[in-house]
Amino acid sequence: MDPILWNDWHVVGDTAALLHGETFATALLGVALQIARAEDGSVGIVQSDGVPVLCDVRYGFIWACLGTPMQPIIDVPELAVEDMTAVIGGAVSVHASAGRAIENFLDLGHLGYVHAGYLGAEPETAVASYNVETLPGGGVLVTGCEVFQPNALMDNQGVMIGYSYKVERPLTAWFQKILLDSGTLVTTAYLFAQPVDEDHCVAHTLLLVPGSAYSAADIRGYQQLIFLQDKPILENQNPKRLPIGPRMEIPILADKTSIAYRRWLAQLGVTYGVVREAAGVPA
């Protein structure tokens, strides 16, 4: 088993989806899990043979680690910021690997098509050059992305948006959107992709919107709309696993983020839910 993912924390549910006294079944890295929430609110996770699994509840999510955690659960500093509306998007299962979902979350080139009229629009489909760096502790930091968005604020007003992206854990991605002209923060978003097995994941999103101009239900509705636009793309990618070997799919300059993400996974030695050799690509 892939030690990198086995010994990492993964979101396996959100507390909103699990009322007190309920149990619910999921899977992580191919291991079936039963999550139970006692009447007192405490959460426990067991495997099908009853063996307990290391778990924690944080940021409204239920976290699990099947092995020995190499690092603590990822920090979400935005939650400490005052006057922030935090919304959990709702878990959506996807018939694609977690890596494919993360890569899609980081992808600029699809905004004008898959999210046409919301996060992009023709003819403004050119992806201007942006910066990609390696984070000090490993991982990918992307800055300087500029995108025209026709309906980024749910008001049908076009605005220029600046994006930054970050991947600090193999299956967690982060972005921040600001209004380019004023620098005002629009949204911060996290995608925690739960690797159910090599070909399936659950997308858990956390959205942080400053102020209280939008209701949680509206933010969630918008997020679900956007994610549902991506879902059939992800489910129609072949192979389902993310190809991370060289020369396996054809990237272009606009895919610098994806190139860096794939390369980082390869360097880390991630093997689960990815394809490393071109020969391994199923027809």
């Binding site: 909103a16 709702g90 959506v92 299962s93 239900a217 509705g221 956007i226 994610f227 879902k231």
Partner: protein, 233 residues
């Protein structure tokens, strides 16, 4: 009119879709049913004791069934009676028959999709088999329809609410593990619908660009000519 709405549900989409095609403005109120479970809260149950979405508040009544909402919108706002042929007994009955099939698709393909995407409990293999049986029947109907020059479920020059009702579940079927590859005539029919002017989308439904007038479907003779040509290569 106010629609109690949710972005994930095909039944809500059907109502938005038809209102768009009819040019009827709807006010939308998002009910956060997943994961918020607002459809189980007292406030919503007071409107719809069934706890289902959508609900169309017409001002006079709450319509708690998506197919009823389609019937209402068409009967009230489509003066040409194109979408619901009330004056033609045969076509009206055919529309009703397909609406019943749409209901069966809701409980098969629709349930399979909710199972696969948000974990709703159901006998998934059985739901998929039921949906495939319905799609096989629809495929045969549409294929012979195409041969006879009929583009839509109910014979006639124009689509009806039956097309809308089936479409929303058919087009999302693959999210429930129900492939559409075996149903080429169904796939073409979904494209014809998506090329209608003012055709609204939901997440999971891809747009279809309008065909140029100059690039209409090849006629049978042109197909044969093209076929003869490429066979000689």
């Amino acid at each position: 009119m106010l629609l109690y709405d949710n972005a994930m549900l095909p039944e809500c989409y059907a109502v938005r879709l038809l209102s768009g095609l009819l040019g009827v403005e709807l006010d939308l109120k998002t009910v956060d049913c997943y994961p918020g479970r607002q459809h189980r809260e007292e406030a919503f149950l007071a409107i719809n004791p069934l706890g289902t979405l959508p609900v169309l508040d017409t001002g006079d009544a709450f319509l708690r069934d998506w197919l009823a909402a389609l019937v209402y919108l068409a009967a009230r706002y489509d003066s040409s009676a194109r979408w619901l042929p009330t004056a033609d007994a045969g076509r009206l009955a055919a529309v009703q028959e397909w609406l019943s099939i749409a209901r069966l698709l809701q409980s098969s393909a629709g349930a399979a999709r909710l199972h696969d995407s948000i974990g709703m409990a159901t006998d998934i293999e059985r739901r998929r088999r039921e949906a495939h049986d319905l799609l096989r029947m629809t495929e045969k109907h549409l294929w012979f329809g195409e041969r006879g020059g009929d583009d839509w479920l109910v014979a006639g020059a124009e689509p009806t609410i039956a097309d809308i009702a089936l479409f929303v579940h058919v087009i999302l079927s693959e999210e429930g593990g129900i492939a559409r590859m075996p149903y080429p005539a169904v796939r073409r029919w979904t494209e014809r619908l998506r090329r209608l002017p003012n055709f609204a989308l939901m997440g999971g439904v891809f747009p279809m660009p309008a065909l140029d007038a100059s690039r209409t479907l090849l006629s049978e003779t042109e197909c044969q000519a093209a076929s003869a040509q490429s066979a000689t290569h």
